[in-house]
C-alpha cells in the first residue's frame, strides 16, 4: 500500500516544474516590491502573479501563524498539566483548564486551513488531525470512548509510557481526551466540580491519573509540533516547508502521494469543508460539551477565515482586494455580510441559525469566491455526473 512515501528529488525531466518554481519565487519577490505602487484599476483583473502574492501572504501571515500558535498553546497546556500534577491545587487545575480552552480555540483557528501537514497520514492512512479532533472526522462524539479508555487505564496496572498514547486510535486521544481529564472526574458521576477533580487526582494510585493526563498532553504537543514543523521547515522529511513546496507547485514531484492541487484549491476546499461541517454536524452541541467553550471555538474559526479574506492592514494585496479588482465588489460585500450574519449567530449562541449561516458561507467558498477570482476547483470535483 502506498503511503508514507520517502521524498524523491525532482528528476531532470521535471525541469519545467522546477523552472516554474524559480519563476514564481522571482516574480513573487518583484511583485512584493511593486505591490504598493499598483494602481487600483477596477477594469483590469488580477493577474496570476497578484494572486500568487496574495496567497503567499495569506499562508505566511495567517495560516502558518495559526499552526505555530497551536504548537505554542499545546506546549503551554503540557506545561500547565505538569504543573498541576506537581502541585495538585484547584488554582493549578483552573490554569490548566483555561489553557485547554485556549488550545481548543487555537485548533479552531487552524481548522479553516486543515490541509497539508494536518493531513499527513500515518501507517494506517489516518490523517494527523484525526488524533487532535476526533469529532471533525465524521461528527461522532467520542467522549464516551475516551471516558471508557481513561477508566480502563486507571484500573490497569500496565506501564504507561509515551508509546501508550502514540499508539492509541484516534478515538481515544486529542482534545476530547484532555477535556475529560481536566474538566470532570473519571468516576461514573463525572463530576465537574473542581475540588472533586483535584481530589481524584490526589487519590489516584501511583499518581496514575497524572501519568495519563501528562501522557495525553505530551502526545497532543507532539502532534501539534509536527504540524507546525511541516508548515515551517520540514514537510514529511523533504527538508522543505509545506509553504515552499505548495507555492512552488512541486509537492507531487517531490512526493509520490501528493495530489498536486494548487494553493487556492487547497485553501478553498478546506474552507468549504469546514463550513459544510459546521452546517451539517452538531458541532455547537457536541464539541466541548464538558468544557463549555464551543462558541468561542467556532468564533475563532470565523475570525481566521475573515483574516484570510481581508488580510491585514499592512498587506498590499488581499483576496478581497483581488475580487474587487476583478469587478466583483458585490461578491465581496455578500461574503462580508454572510460572515457578519454567522458572527451574530455565534454571539446569540443559536445553533439552528449557526448551521444555516455556516451553510451559506460554505456556498460562498464554492461559488462566489472562486468565481470572483476566476478559479477552477476542478470540473470533476465540482460537477460530476
Amino acid at each position: 500500500m502506498k503511503h508514507n512515501s520517502t521524498p524523491k528529488h525532482p528528476s531532470a525531466s521535471k525541469l519545467r516544474q522546477g523552472l516554474t518554481g524559480v519563476w514564481l519565487a522571482g516574480v513573487t519577490a518583484l511583485a512584493s516590491t511593486l505591490a504598493g505602487c499598483l494602481p487600483s484599476d477596477s477594469s483590469s483583473g488580477p493577474t496570476n502573479t497578484e494572486l500568487d502574492v496574495a496567497l503567499k501572504v495569506a499562508l505566511n501571515s495567517t495560516v502558518v501563524p495559526a499552526y505555530e500558535d497551536l504548537a505554542a498553546q499545546a506546549l503551554s497546556l503540557d506545561t500547565l498539566s505538569e504543573a498541576f500534577c506537581a502541585d495538585k491545587t484547584a488554582a493549578n487545575l483552573t490554569a490548566a483548564q483555561t489553557q485547554w480552552k485556549t488550545t481548543q480555540a487555537a485548533w479552531f483557528t487552524a481548522l479553516p486551513f486543515n490541509f497539508g501537514p494536518s493531513e499527513i497520514p500515518d501507517s494506517s492512512t489516518t490523517p494527523a488531525y484525526w488524533y487532535i479532533d476526533s469529532y471533525r472526522v465524521r461528527g461522532i462524539n467520542e467522549l464516551s470512548t475516551v471516558r471508557s479508555d481513561i477508566t480502563n487505564m486507571l484500573a490497569s496496572s500496565d506501564a504507561i509510557s509515551d508509546a501508550t498514547f502514540s499508539t492509541k486510535t484516534y478515538t481515544k486521544v486529542g482534545l476530547v481526551a484532555l477535556e475529560s481529564l481536566l474538566f470532570e472526574t473519571a468516576d461514573t458521576g463525572h463530576s465537574t466540580v473542581s475540588n472533586d477533580i483535584v481530589t481524584e487526582y490526589a487519590n489516584s494510585t501511583d499518581n496514575r491519573k497524572c501519568l495519563i493526563l501528562t501522557g495525553h498532553s505530551a502526545e497532543l504537543l507532539r502532534r501539534a509540533n509536527a504540524m507546525s514543523t511541516g508548515w515551517t521547515t520540514d514537510y514529511r522529511g523533504t527538508g522543505q516547508s509545506y509553504v515552499d513546496l505548495l507555492t512552488q507547485g512541486t509537492l507531487d514531484t517531490v512526493l509520490d502521494d501528493e495530489s498536486g492541487s494548487d494553493v487556492m484549491t487547497k485553501i478553498t476546499v478546506a474552507a468549504q469543508g469546514l463550513y459544510d461541517y459546521f452546517g451539517k454536524r452538531d458541532v455547537t452541541t457536541q464539541v466541548a460539551s464538558v468544557a463549555g467553550n464551543v462558541w468561542d471555538a467556532v468564533a475563532a474559526s470565523l475570525d481566521a477565515t475573515e483574516e484570510l479574506l481581508e488580510g491585514h492592514s499592512q498587506d498590499a494585496i488581499t483576496l478581497f482586494a483581488l475580487m474587487t479588482k476583478r469587478g466583483n465588489s458585490q461578491d465581496v460585500e455578500t461574503v462580508r455580510a454572510n460572515i457578519a450574519t454567522l458572527r451574530t449567530t455565534i454571539t446569540n449562541q443559536n445553533t439552528t441559525e449557526f448551521q444555516a449561516a455556516a451553510s451559506v458561507l460554505d456556498g460562498n467558498f464554492k461559488r462566489e469566491i472562486p468565481d470572483a477570482l476566476d478559479l477552477s476547483l476542478g470540473l470533476n470535483f465540482s460537477d460530476g455526473d
Binding site: 502506498k2 489516518t126 490523517p127 498536486g260 492541487s261 470533476n380 455526473d385
Partner: protein, 398 residues
Amino acid sequence: MKKNNMTDLSCSRRSLLKTLSALGVVTPATMLPATSHGWLGDWFSGRHATAEKSTGFFLSAQGDSVERYALSWVNQQQPHSINAGFRGHGLAQNPTRPSQVVMFARRPGVQGLVIDAQQGQEQTRFRCASGKHLHGHGVFSQDGQWLFTSESDIASGRGEICVRDTDQFKVQQVFASHGIGPHEISLLPDGKTLVVANGGLRTHPDSGRKVLNLDTMDSSLTLLNSENGALIQQHKLANSKSSIRHLDVGQDGSVAVAIQVQRSAMTHPHTVPLAAVLSAGASELKPLMAPEPLMIQLKDYMGSVRIHNASQTAAFTSPKGDLVLFWHLPSGDFKGFHAFHDVCGLTLSHDQKYFVVSNSAGNIRHLSTDTLEEQKTQRMDFPAMQWDNHMITLSDRV
C-alpha cells in the same frame, strides 16, 4: 418485432458488402481513406512511432463552457478537438469500425456526436426522441452494427435502453433498463448480455440535476438480453442510498461497479462501500473496502472504473477525494492508492501497461498496472484542456 427488421437490414448490408468485396472494390476494413488527418490518421495508417502506438490515443469529453465543449484526443503530442456545443460525458468506439467513435451528452443532454477518428472530423450527430434524454453513456454491439444508449423517458422517469443502427443512428428498438436512471452500460464477454448501472435517481430537465426521488431511490445492476431486453438478473446494494453509476466488465465476465452515495438522505454518518464487484456466476455484489481514512476521503463519490484483465485489478477514481484506488477483484483485497487532484478520467494504455488517469487541469498520468505507481516520465500536461469525467483508449484493432 423490431428485431426482425434489424436482421433484414443486416442481411442486406452483409450481402452488399460481400458483393463489393468480391468485385475488389471495398471491404469494411479498408473503407476508410488512406489519407491521414492529424495524429489519429497516422494511428490508423500505422505512420507513427512505436512508442506512441504502445500507449495509445486517449479520447475524452473536454471543456468548461458551451463555447469550449469538445471531444478531444491526445497521445504524447498536442491535443486535438472537435467542438461539440454540448458537454460530453462517456464515449464508445465501434469495435468493427474503429474509426467510428461516439461521445454522448452528459445527463440530461440529448445529443450524440459521431466522429470519424481517422479523419479527425465530425461524421454525424443524433438526438434522442422527443421527451427523452441521454445519461451520458452507450456501448456498441460486438459486431458493430448496433449502438445501445442509456436514456430516460422524461415524463414517466422510466429508464430505457435505446438501440440504434450504426449507419444512420436511428432508433430501431427500445426496451426498459429495469431501473431508474440507467447510467453506464456495457456488454458481457458473451456479446449478448447487456449490463446496466441503474443509478436509481430520478431527475427532470426542468429542475436540472436535482434528485427528485431521494426517499424512494432504488439503484440496481441489471443484466438484460440485448436482443429483446428481457431481464436476466438484478442486483442491489445493501445501502438504499447508494447509487451504482459506472462499471467495467472483465474478460472473465466479472463486473466492477463504482458507486456514489446520497449522503443527505442517509440517517447515519458512517462510510459505506463505494466500489463493488459481481464476479462471473456470483449471486450478489461483493463490496470492496479500503481503510476508513481513505473511505472518508472519497467523500461518498467514485467516478470511473477500469479493469486490468491480466492482473485482475480494478482501478477506481474519486475526483472529490483526489484519489485513485485499486482492488484485486477475485480476492477483494485492497492494493493501494494514488493521489491526483480532481482525478476522474480513467482508461488503460493500449499496451495494457498503464492505468491512464486525467483531470480537468489538463493533466494525464500513467500508473503502472504492475506496481500501481506513477511513471513520472510519462506525465502529460495540457493546461488549456479540461478533461471531463471519462476517457477511452482508441483501439486500432478491427
